[in-house]
């Protein structure tokens, strides 16, 4: 159950999408988000949808991975849809008791659902095709101008790298602790809200204790390898923009432009 969480889960491959510079992929993802939010009508979402489906096909990441990334946000989608369906607009097309559905509400909720799905599905592709390490490397490089403003870019990206690196470890640890407490008869699946919250204590405390222990061990290991922060640090993999990066950025820009064209129709 816990292993279904996809954050930081890399889908190995050697497609053109995988090979892109992480900075390019981050920029493309930003442009993609703009693409979705610039759309004024359902039709304006079309370029975004085509864009992310094409990207999935090129990346070789199976389309069923989309559903995996959507699963955790189903409640959010349903909530948004219901909210928009009942409380937006006033051109009633269907009425029953106190429930009123308006044409505008219907249109708007479909628009929102499609937008959220496209948003999650598209941005997940970034984490499917980029290892967490590459991702933070890319982010660090993109944010490096902020160093001039004394912003701790390297420290921040190191923290992110460590956090991402430990998500799978902590998930594994959690399921181990859960199994161990279940073996002692802990009841995690029944009872009211308060009882369930209380049932989490035997899991959270060992988890915190082990997280602190791991943090201490990691700090020691880093120091014994003479880690001293970002100044003068060289990289194992240096990032270089290539022709394919420029081409993919241009294609993305074209898609974005088409959204504005569709908007003005």
């Amino acid at each position: 159950m816990l292993s279904n969480i996809t954050i930081g889960q890399y889908y190995p491959g050697s497609s053109p999408v995988h090979k892109l510079d992480p900075r390019t992929k981050i920029l493309i993802t930003v442009l993609y988000i703009v693409m979705l939010f610039a759309a004024a009508e359902v039709i304006g979402l079309l370029p975004g949808i085509i864009f992310f489906i094409l990207s999935y096909i090129i990346s070789g990441v199976p389309l069923k991975m989309i559903f995996r990334s959507l699963k955790p946000i189903i409640p959010l989608i349903v909530f948004t849809a219901v909210l928009n369906l009942f409380f937006v607009g006033n051109d009633v097309i269907f009425e029953f008791w106190i429930i009123k559905i308006t044409g505008e509400g219907l249109r708007f909720s479909i628009f929102m659902i499609v937008r959220i799905i496209a948003l999650i599905a598209g941005t997940s592709l970034l984490t499917y095709t980029t290892t967490p390490i590459m991702l933070t490397d890319g982010l660090e490089s993109l944010l490096s101008p902020l160093k001039k403003l004394k912003f701790p870019v390297h420290e921040l990206s190191m923290m992110m790298t460590i956090a991402l690196r430990f998500i799978p470890t902590l998930i594994e640890e959690t399921s181990k602790i859960m199994s161990a407490q279940k073996a002692r008869g802990a009841d995690l699946e029944s009872g009211g809200l308060l009882k369930r919250a209380k049932a989490l204590i035997p899991i959270l405390i060992p988890l915190f204790v082990s997280a602190f222990r791991r943090a201490e061990e990691l700090a020691l290991a880093m120091e014994s390898r003479c880690y001293h922060g970002g100044e003068g640090r060289t990289r194992l993999r240096e990032l270089h923009f290539k022709l394919r990066d420029i081409i993919s950025l241009l294609i993305t820009a074209l898609f974005l432009a088409s959204v504005f064209v569709l908007n003005s129709l």
Binding site: S3, M65, K176, G185
Partner: protein, 287 residues
């Protein structure tokens, strides 16, 4: 013939992650009689841990069944929590699951979940603590104890539920020789004196040879062999082929045999080796 206390039928289980399937155990069939101390050996990834997590219903198999005292634990009528009180499972590095403020409360967690009366809980906690030798720390915080002490507290937490079947996954891993002898001695006592069934996963062939009444050998998710230790360790070649080793004393005697010293039986414990050697020397003096 009595009913086996654990019966595993055609058990198959595979882990799924990111679209890849890894079959951890395949068609495992097994019958364990009451009162045995079964040593489970197998290389890393041979399915030992997966198998033991099926025996108290923590993992649900893709196919196959597990019968505990003749009861199918995966049937709808069966209350898995009750099974877990009957089949106590101690995970690897159990000290990382301690969470209460005092050792006493932590050991009481299992019995409390069983819904026992406060008097009974108190009795169980004190018994279990005495059994694993942690009765002096009952009012301390478990986080102030040493690694070996923590381990014994965690094991006491399972023993306090008084399970008929006790399963331990490498209970002695990472302990010093003294701590290791203490824990293993208590585990043997739990089987011999109380007549309970114990399953012990270990990478130490010496420990298995010394303690086990039966040995289960796992290899690549299948049961390679299940027999008395004498027979298991007699076939050195087979054991080594699946990436395991026979006890060191057995190896010594293999070499002695190769050098022309005649020893008929397979030797896997130091005590027995001593007896055989003494009688050999005795014969030599006679001649």
């Amino acid at each position: 013939m009595s009913l086996p206390v654990i019966e595993v039928k055609d058990l198959t289980f595979s882990y799924n992650s990111l679209g890849t399937t890894h079959t951890a155990i395949e068609n495992v069939n097994l019958k364990i009689e009451k009162g045995e101390l079964v040593g489970i050996i197998g290389h890393t990834g041979s399915g030992k841990s997966t198998l033991i997590q099926h025996l108290n219903g923590l993992l649900k198999p893709n196919s196959g069944t597990v019968l505990i005292d003749g009861e199918d634990i995966f049937s709808k009528e069966c209350d898995l929590r009750k099974i877990r009180f009957k089949v106590g499972l101690v995970f690897q590095y159990p000290e990382y699951q301690l969470f209460e403020e005092t050792v006493y409360n932590d050991i009481a967690f299992g019995p409390k979940n069983m819904g026992l009366s406060p008097d009974e809980i108190d009795k169980r906690v004190k018994e279990a603590a005495a059994f694993t030798g942690v009765e002096d720390y009952l009012n301390k915080s478990p986080f102030d104890l040493s690694g070996g002490q923590k381990r014994r507290v965690a094991i006491a937490g399972v023993i306090a539920m008084d399970p008929e079947i006790l399963i331990l996954d490498e209970p002695a891993a990472g302990l010093d020789p003294k701590g290791r002898d203490k824990i293993l001695g208590q585990i043997k006592k739990y089987q011999r004196e109380k007549g309970n069934t114990v399953l012990l996963v270990s990478h130490s062939m010496e420990d298995i040879a010394k303690l086990a009444t039966k040995v289960l050998v796992m290899a690549d998710g299948k049961v390679e062999a299940y027999d008395i230790p004498e027979k298991i360790f007699a076939d050195t070649e087979r054991i080594e082929k699946i990436g395991l080793a026979v006890p060191q004393i057995t190896e010594v005697f293999e070499i002695l045999k190769k050098n022309g010293i005649e020893i008929k039986e397979s030797i896997f414990s130091v005590e027995y080796a001593k007896k055989v050697l003494l009688s050999l020397i005795g014969e030599g003096e006679d001649a």
